[in-house]
C-alpha cells in the first residue's frame, strides 16, 4: 500500500512545499531545467554577439576572444536544447515540436529559430576556418608518417572542406565578406533566439510576475551580459590551461600542436594575449551590464508603482520569501559588487574574471528568480509554493529535474568544446585578417 501511494507522487510534488491556500493542482511545474534553458540560450546568444563585435564592427581589440567566442557559442548551441528535453515528461516526443508545430504557441517557433541560428553559426565557423581547413588538408596530406590523430584529423578536414580548396586571393576575400554578412545576420537572429525565450515567459498571461512586454528585452540584455561574462571566465581558464600546457609540454591541451607537432606560442605570448583580451572584453561587459540593470530596476519600480491586484502577492514573494535570492544573491553579489569591481580604475585580469564569475551567478539567479519566483505564489494570491531543489536523485524525475540534471547541462558544453577545439582551434593566431 505504501509503495502504491509512493508511486502516485504526481509531477512536481517531490520538490514543492505548499503554504496557506494553494489550488490542488498547483505545483512548481517548471523547475531547474527551465531555469537552465534561458540561461544556456542566453550564453549562446551572448557569446555570439561578443564574436560579432569583432567580425561586424571591426573591434580589433577583441580579435582573439572573438574567435574563441564563436567556437564556444557553437559548443553551447546543442546544450541549449538539452534542458528542454530533460524537462519534458515525454522526452521521446520532443521531435513533435519540429514535426507538427502549432504556431500560436511561443515554444513552437523554437525549432525554426534554433535551426536557423545553428546554420548561421555553423556557416560562419566554416568561412572563418576555411583557409585553415585547406591549409591543414594540404599540410597533413604532404606528411609521410602520420600519427593516428593526424590521420583522423585529415579525414575530418577533407570532409568539412566540402571540396572547396580554392585559397586564391579572391576566394579568401569573398570568405571574409561572407563572415561579415553572417555575423551581421547572426546578431538579430541571436537576439531573436533569446528575446523569444523571454517571450515564452512574458506571454503567459496567467502569471502575474512573468507577464510584461519588457521580459524579452530584459532577457536579451542579460543574455549578452552572461555570454560575455562566460567568455571572459572560460577564456581565462582555457588560457591558464594553455599556459600550463605550454610550460609542461602537455600537447593534449594544445590542439594546434597535434597538427603541427610543435607548440605555436610561448608562455609569455599567451600571457600577454590573455591579459589584453580579458581587460578589453570586461569593458564591453560593463556597458551591457548597465543596460540590463536599468531595465530590471525599471520593471521592479513599475510593478511597485502601478501596484495592480497581484502586487500584494508579488511583494510578499519579492521582499519576504525570495529576499535572499533576489536582493542578496542577484542584486548585491550578482550586480552591485561586480559593477563596482569593473568600474574601479586599473583593472587586473583576476579582478575582471572575479567580476565575471559574480555576473554569471547574478544572471543565473535572475533566471531562477523569474522561473521559480514566478511559481512561488498561488493563482489564488493567498498562498505560496516553495521549491526545494532535489540534490540526491531517487528517481529519474528527480535526476532530470534536480541538481544532477543541471550539472549535466553545465558540463556538456565544455566537453563538446574540448573536441570541437581539436578540429577548429579556437585560440589559433590568424596571420591574415578575418574581416
Amino acid at each position: 500500500m505504501v509503495e502504491q501511494i509512493a508511486a502516485m507522487v504526481v509531477h512536481g510534488e517531490a520538490w514543492t512545499v505548499k503554504d496557506l491556500f494553494v489550488l490542488p493542482n498547483e505545483y512548481v511545474y517548471w523547475s531547474i531545467q527551465i531555469v537552465m534553458y534561458p540561461y544556456m540560450t542566453g550564453l549562446v546568444a551572448g557569446a555570439f554577439v561578443l564574436s560579432s563585435l569583432y567580425h561586424v564592427f571591426g573591434v580589433e581589440k577583441l580579435k582573439q576572444i572573438a574567435r574563441f567566442a564563436l567556437v564556444f557559442s557553437f559548443a553551447l548551441l546543442p546544450v541549449a536544447m538539452l534542458p528542454l528535453l530533460l524537462h519534458l515528461t515525454q522526452p521521446l516526443r520532443g521531435i513533435h515540436v519540429l514535426m507538427t508545430p502549432h504556431f500560436t504557441s511561443a515554444i513552437s517557433a523554437f525549432g525554426i529559430v534554433f535551426m536557423t541560428y545553428a546554420c548561421i553559426v555553423a556557416a560562419e565557423i566554416w568561412f572563418v576556418y576555411r583557409t585553415f581547413i585547406v591549409a591543414s588538408v594540404v599540410r597533413l596530406s604532404a606528411k609521410d608518417n602520420r600519427t593516428v590523430y593526424q590521420r583522423l584529423l585529415l579525414q575530418i578536414y577533407r570532409v568539412i572542406s566540402l571540396g572547396a580548396m580554392d585559397v586564391s586571393k579572391e576566394a579568401v576575400e569573398s570568405d571574409h565578406k561572407a563572415v561579415k554578412f553572417l555575423a551581421g545576420l547572426g546578431i538579430p537572429v541571436a537576439c531573436f533566439l533569446h528575446g523569444y525565450a523571454g517571450f515564452i515567459f512574458g506571454s503567459v498571461k496567467a502569471n502575474a510576475l512573468w507577464m510584461t512586454p519588457l521580459m524579452p528585452v530584459i532577457f536579451i540584455f542579460s543574455a549578452v551580459v552572461s555570454g560575455i561574462a562566460l567568455c571572459i571566465v572560460s577564456y581565462y581558464v582555457f588560457m591558464e590551461i594553455r599556459k600550463r600546457a605550454a610550460k609542461g609540454g602537455w600537447n593534449f591541451f594544445l590542439p594546434e600542436t597535434i597538427g603541427h607537432d610543435r607548440a605555436e606560442f610561448s608562455y609569455e605570448e599567451l600571457n600577454s594575449m590573455q591579459d589584453h583580451e580579458v581587460k578589453m572584453t570586461s569593458k564591453y561587459l560593463l556597458i551591457f551590464m548597465t543596460l540590463a540593470l536599468t531595465l530590471e530596476v525599471l520593471d521592479m519600480i513599475f510593478r511597485g508603482y502601478t501596484a495592480v491586484k497581484s502586487w500584494d502577492a508579488l511583494r510578499q514573494v519579492i521582499y519576504v520569501h525570495d529576499f535572499t535570492q533576489i536582493f542578496i544573491m542577484q542584486g548585491l553579489l550578482g550586480n552591485v559588487i561586480p559593477f563596482i569591481l569593473l568600474l574601479l580604475p586599473r583593472i587586473t585580469v583576476r579582478r575582471a574574471v572575479s567580476a565575471s564569475l559574480l555576473v554569471l551567478l547574478g544572471v543565473f539567479m535572475m533566471r531562477w528568480n523569474v522561473v521559480i519566483g514566478g511559481q512561488a505564489f498561488s493563482l489564488t494570491f493567498n498562498g505560496f509554493m516553495h521549491y526545494s531543489l532535489p540534490i540526491i536523485p531517487n528517481s529519474i524525475e528527480t535526476f532530470k529535474e534536480g541538481l544532477m540534471g543541471a550539472l549535466l547541462v553545465v558540463i556538456s558544453p565544455f566537453v563538446i568544446f574540448y573536441f570541437l577545439n581539436m578540429v577548429f582551434p579556437a585560440f589559433m593566431e590568424d596571420k591574415s585578417a578575418t574581416h
Binding site: 490542488p24 515528461t89 513533435h96 515540436v97 496567467a206
Partner: protein
C-alpha cells in the same frame, strides 16, 4: 529605360495593392465548415448556494476518469471559504475535498491547521471548481504541438498520444485546472466528461451531486435549463480579466473567489 526611383515607387504601389486586395480573401477550411455545430455549445452552471462540500463530485470524477484516488491532483475540486467578521478571508481545499469537509479546522498546508472560533465567522460557503472550457482558451493557444484543441461544441480536449509534457498549458491556464496525469505522464484536465455528454449522458460530477449544485447544458438551446438560468439570472464567471471567456457560470459568486 525606367529610372531606379520610378521602379521602386511602382513596386511599392504594386505590392501594397496586391497585399490589400488579397487580405480581403478568407481561406475557408472545409474541415472547419463541416465540424461547425451552431446548435450546440456546452456550458456549465454551478449554484454555490446549493453546495455543501460533501466531495461526492470529486470522488465520482476521479473514478469515472481514471485519476488515481490517492494522487494529489484532480479534474475538479471544492473550495471552502470562511469570511471572518474582522475582514480576514480563509480558504482551503484539503485533498481537493475528495472526502468532503469533515473538519472545522482550515487546512493551511505548511502553516498547519487553523482553528477559527465560530463566533468570529461572518459567513462561510463552498465553491466547486472545474475546467471552464473557455471560448478563447489560453491552454490551446500555448500548446506547441497542437495536442490540446477545442472541439466545435466548445470542449477543450487533450490528445494523450501527442502531448509532449512541456507543461506550458499548465502554466498558461489562469484557473489551475491542468496537471500531469500521474500514470499517463501527459497534461490532463476536466473535459465535462466528453465521452458521456456526447452520448447524451450527464457528467459524473453533476450526476453524483445530491443537491443539484452542478448542471451541464447546451447554451445554444433556449429551452435548456442551464441556458435559461444563464440568460435570466445574475451569474458570474471566474477571472474574466484574462479574456479567456470562461463557460462555467456561477450563481452566488462572491468577490473573494477567483
Amino acid at each position: 529605360m525606367m529610372k531606379r526611383r520610378d521602379f521602386i515607387k511602382q513596386t511599392a504601389v504594386f505590392v501594397t495593392g496586391a497585399a490589400l486586395s488579397s487580405s480581403a480573401l478568407v481561406m475557408l477550411d472545409p474541415k472547419e465548415l463541416l465540424a461547425q455545430r451552431p446548435e450546440l455549445r456546452w456550458g456549465f452552471l454551478v449554484d454555490t448556494h446549493k453546495c455543501v462540500g460533501c466531495g461526492f463530485c470529486v470522488k465520482a470524477c476521479k473514478i469515472e476518469n481514471d485519476i488515481p484516488i490517492e494522487a494529489n491532483v484532480t479534474r475538479t475540486w471544492v473550495e471552502r471559504y470562511v469570511l471572518k467578521k474582522n475582514g480576514e478571508v480563509l480558504a482551503d481545499s484539503p485533498k481537493a475535498a475528495l472526502n468532503g469537509f469533515t473538519s472545522e479546522l482550515i487546512d493551511q498546508n505548511a502553516s498547519g491547521l487553523k482553528e477559527v472560533d465560530a463566533d468570529e465567522i461572518a459567513q462561510a460557503f463552498f465553491v466547486p471548481k472545474l475546467c471552464n472550457q473557455c471560448e478563447t482558451p489560453a491552454c490551446v493557444q500555448v500548446c506547441p504541438v497542437g495536442a490540446t484543441y477545442q472541439t466545435a461544441d466548445g470542449i477543450v480536449l487533450i490528445d494523450r498520444k501527442w502531448c509532449i509534457g512541456c507543461g506550458y498549458c499548465v502554466m498558461g491556464c489562469p484557473y489551475g485546472v491542468r496537471f500531469f496525469h500521474p500514470v499517463e505522464h501527459v497534461a490532463d484536465k476536466c473535459n465535462f466528461c466528453y465521452h458521456r455528454i456526447s452520448q447524451g449522458g450527464n457528467t459524473a460530477c453533476a450526476q453524483a451531486c445530491p443537491f443539484g449544485a452542478r448542471k451541464i447544458g447546451n447554451l445554444r438551446d433556449p429551452n435548456d435549463p442551464v441556458a435559461k438560468t444563464v440568460l435570466r439570472d445574475r451569474v458570474g464567471v471566474l477571472r474574466d480579466e484574462y479574456g479567456t471567456k470562461p463557460q462555467v457560470f456561477y450563481l452566488g459568486l462572491s468577490k473573494e473567489v477567483h
